[in-house]
Amino acid sequence: MAERVLMKGNEAIAEAAIRAGCRHYFGYPITPQTEIAAYMAKKMPKIGGVFLQAESEVASINMVYGAAAAGMRVMTSSSSPGISLKAEGLSYIAGSDVPALVVNVQRGGPGLGGIQPSQSDYFQATKGGGHGDYRMIVLAPASVQEMASLTIKGFNLADKYLMTAMILADGTIGQMMEPISFEDAEIETYEKPWALTGTNCERKHNVVNSLYLKPDELEAKNFERYERYKIVEQNEAMWEEYMMEDAELCVVAFGIASRVAKNAVAAARAEGIKVGLIRPITLWPFPKDALAFAAEKVKGFVSVELSMGQMIEDIRLATQCNKPVGLCNRCGGMIPSPDEVLESIRKAQKGEF
């Protein structure tokens, strides 16, 4: 096994990106993700890569757009308010079908909000954020190790499906240190015949574009894109199950909330409550099948979120509202304690959701 090193979550993302072959980073400072940019600023010049601090989040995502169109593995990172500014570029990147990796180390909102951890950009990440019909692959790490492994996975998926992969982390996972080991990154490479490389006067010019003034052409393009999305939904959903074998109740949580929830599930088990946990690792595609399957055997769900309850809607959709879904939430930068989650589990056990 590779050597274990202690790293901050944000640094793990940066190091993993470099190992995944990313040599171009464009960003703009914002708390709590600055370690990513700092790491890139230090490392990129030494390995022949490019770190560039842009004049704004808007500019940085458009630099990403250009670099992605040029056929490179490229990334940017930001936190909630900055992601809102990048939404324009995310839409253009989707509309042009070029691959990119975008990291959101979430903080509380709306508006300038706060700088403490949050999961309140779930809707923005999974339902759009920018304008138009499009999807992003959304990966939700729950540990420093996953910050690294999902970054590598994200680059691979982005290239494979010509989409943006978003790492939807939060301030806690970004700031905390845990031991991780970098196994040799499995870098998948894909041909990019559409890339802007210069024609070398040997082929017809490539055009990277999201403008289709003829509605039938735009519609066809969107249909085609959604066929691709369908394949992503069929093949790429990821989740973890914990103590679900005999569970009569199911807690659903991702990211840092799942860490707290795990403690609470263990405590509830100690009290004799048969409860388990499903942790979505991909938020889009949402692990619908896992939830639907669980709905057949549990009497209800508890969604633990650092928001006013956003993922809860996807749980209800996935389970077709067949079972009650309770919400255990804190927001604005607050994190529920294991006791708070335990209390919600006890209530659910009594049929109170």
Partner: protein, 179 residues
């Protein structure tokens, strides 16, 4: 070993995060499961700082500590804020050079050590944090002092070699202090 949850709190500038980092690295070297979580943001600049360190031989669940087994308090506000969160049977380490107050709880073990004064007296003024860490490692049944040299060497960058010996000295001062 069981899971040990250590909460370190004080002012920004007291080396709170470094003390936590040291304990985390010690766990790493000992092949334990480890998490280290700092407070972050503007409050770090001159305000209060705290750091959550969990050492365990099983995977760490939540990295957020709500009921510490060990509290290191390096100023009065931190002691007041966290004293009641320590689990019964837990330990509290108090920098008694900076904190006059006594802990009234009788269900916890309290160690008073004038770390900041000791650091001053020994010309290692910035290393009160490591004096307390040394005292903790010596006195906590789940932790051990052995192997600290290796951790110091791992953690202090080569550029700052002068700090190596000073850190070791601070740890030893804490280890040898008798309450």
């Amino acid at each position: 070993m069981k899971t040990t949850q250590i909460l370190i709190a004080g002012f920004g500038g007291q080396g709170i995060l470094f003390a936590g980092k040291f304990l985390a690295y010690k766990g790493l070297v000992e092949d334990l499961q480890v998490s280290w979580l700092p407070s972050y943001g503007p409050e770090m600049r001159g305000g209060t700082a705290n750091c959550n360190v969990i050492l365990s031989d099983t995977p760490v669940g939540s990295p957020i500590i709500t009921q510490p087994d060990v509290l290191i308090a390096m100023n009065l506000p931190s002691l007041q804020k966290y004293v009641d969160t320590v689990v019964p049977g837990g330990q509290i380490y108090v920098d008694s050079a900076l904190i006059d107050a006594k802990v009234e709880r009788t269900d916890v073990e309290v160690f008073y050590i004038p770390a900041t004064q000791m650091a001053k007296d020994n010309n290692i003024a910035s290393l009160a944090n490591m004096i307390i860490v040394g005292h903790l490692l010596e006195n906590n049944p789940h932790l051990s002092f052995a192997g600290t040299d290796e951790v110091v060497e791992k953690l202090v960058p080569a550029k700052k070699a002068a700090l190596l010996e000073l850190n070791k000295k601070a740890l030893a001062l804490g280890k040898n202090y008798k309450n």
